[in-house]
Symmetry: C2
Subunit: 341 residues, 2 copies
């Protein structure tokens, strides 16, 4: 198995990407000797960092894909993909489309990654819209939220496919046996919803291949009672970003209160290990990136602020995607559960 | 000024409502001698509680509207409003529509309150859709989120009106001079969005009567950089409930970590005042209820879990609504800023 890591994009590029990839190689290489990493980016830059890390790119498991060009976050995704065939992202995706690699990990522009993956790696047969599916920590276990921004004007049938793809991922990559699927809605009752969710509810309820447990009100997103939560990409984007903003706001508020008195300061100092564990539970870096589901290969979007640890998590995630055969499982689900139009 | 408080509905009915109304009367009565409360519900039940509180309903400022019937949360709002003219909610709303009271506060069924207010109190001329607009605490000050559930399939023009109504409320009821309006969107750039927000962005940018500051990504909802945030009712409902769920999940996670070691437990004990202040900052009860904007009178939805303190806040909010002349301000804004179709 081979995973390409794009060294460009993200706040800590390129060192966090190179360091994280090397870290993941050491971890996964121990259990899967055929596992290999390809670093996509300027070969000189990569060589310097690998040298600093005491690694060699000449090993069978670690190679370099020379790609000097970078796609920036402020470029139009479609134009950038067309105009920069030598960019690390396009070359990385091409390796997957040509069967030379199994998955790509990138912390760069989300738009460029999703557009590039759709154009170059291409959709799995039957998939109407690939979807971005980040994983959130909850009170009990992780939950996959699909879609989170790839499709901001979804149709009911897209949501049905999101449920199938999300279930395939949680089953094959995360080992969850019968993933419980919820539909994000504005009320628990089946009749609740806007035009989209009312129609989607009926479709999901009629899909035998998933375990549909009904509507999920937003207050229960982090309850841990769902493995897959389905929504329109606009709504998913709002949920994801509000989760981030709220975690930040709440910890700021708490810090402010704890620092505003001698006794609380002392108390906070005594509780510092507990706070560190709390922070770790909220740390999205621990959970890797967001798989982009519905294309013919593993595509994992790492968070823009990823450090080396987060990149290593995202690479492990891509490894589990490939190892679990998620692409095939989604292709199979599309055939099994195709709807006559 | 007269405010009717519905004693039914909500988890702590009827005592929290009666106690909260009496508390608010004592607070507001001190500054506004003409202020009066009407308690809507079973007169016997109210008399017993007032007696326990050592109050008398015979005073000029505290009266009772006998209404033995209750609308439950699981009833169809439209049917319940029609079938139960003797319910506390319908009778309370009728007092407003007949000019005998200025505002209603209820912690009961949101659907019944919104439907009842629209049918009985009726829309302000020019208002396409009244909207529910709760207030969230942020890092800097409160923010009004409009709409949060009344309109789950909004049109761009509705969002423009939400901005006008929200601005009028923040200005007149909360004393914020030039309320900064943001549009909840999936990206900061003007061109971002789904069909609805792209069109709404153009409309908002062309509305001179508001201070439109552009798109607000969901991670900035709690930043305090906005006074009014505009969105479709489905999205607003998701944001509101996710905020609640997340506050609950994060405090549970933190509590769990703090309780899992002797030193952290000791630290937490020392920091207990800081935690109490933190909890208060998150406490929606402190911020009163959600005004329902766009109808001919004050209508405030108190949270279902309101205690007496929360009901008192909601009554104060209704007082500020009426005192500030929000209904007239919205009516004026509708005339000023009407769009030729």
């Amino acid at each position: 198995m081979k995973i390409v890591v794009d060294i460009y994009g993200g706040d800590n590029s390129p060192n966090a990407m190179i360091d994280g990839a090397v870290e993941a190689l050491a971890q996964i290489g121990g259990v899967a000797p055929d596992f290999g990493i390809v670093l996509a980016g300027d070969e000189q830059m990569i060589a310097v960092r690998l040298d600093e890390l005491g690694c060699s790119a000449a090993s069978a498991n670690l190679s370099v894909l020379h790609a000097p060009n970078i796609i920036d976050c402020d470029e139009s995704p479609t134009a950038a993909i067309k105009r920069k065939p030598d960019s690390s992202l396009v070359k990385a995706l091409r390796m997957v489309s040509e069967g030379e690699a199994d998955a790509v990990v990138s912390a760069g522009s989300t738009g460029a990654l999703l557009t590039g993956a759709t154009f170059i790696v291409k959709r799995i047969k039957g998939v109407l819209r690939p979807a971005l599916a980040p994983i959130l920590p909850t009170l009990k276990g992780p939950v996959l939220l699909i879609d989170c921004g790839a499709n901001v004007d979804s149709k009911p049938e897209y949501l049905r496919q999101f449920a199938l793809m999300g279930s395939a991922y949680m089953q094959k990559a995360c080992g969850i046996n019968a993933p419980r699927v919820g539909l994000i809605n504005n009320g628990a009752e089946a009749a609740k919803g806007n035009e989209l969710t009312k129609s989607a509810h009926a479709l999901l309820a009629a899909t035998d291949e998933i375990v549909f447990t009904g509507n999920c009100e937003a207050r229960d997103i982090l309850s841990g009672d769902y493995d897959v939560l389905v929504c329109d990409g606009f709504v998913g984007n709002v949920i994801l970003k509000h989760t981030e903003g709220m975690a930040h706001a709440l910890t700021s508020m708490l810090k402010h209160e704890l620092m505003s008195g001698f006794t609380s300061k002392l108390g906070a100092a005594l509780s510092r290990n507990a706070f560190a564990r709390f922070k770790m539970r909220l740390d999205y870096n621990e959970y890797g990136g967001a798989p982009f589901l519905g294309v013919n290969g593993g595509v994992v979007k790492a968070h823009g602020s990823s450090d080396a640890k987060a990149i290593a998590s995202a690479v492990r995630q891509a490894y589990h995607y490939v190892e679990g055969g998620v692409t095939d499982a989604i292709a199979h689900a599309m055939i099994q559960s195709s709807v006559e139009d």
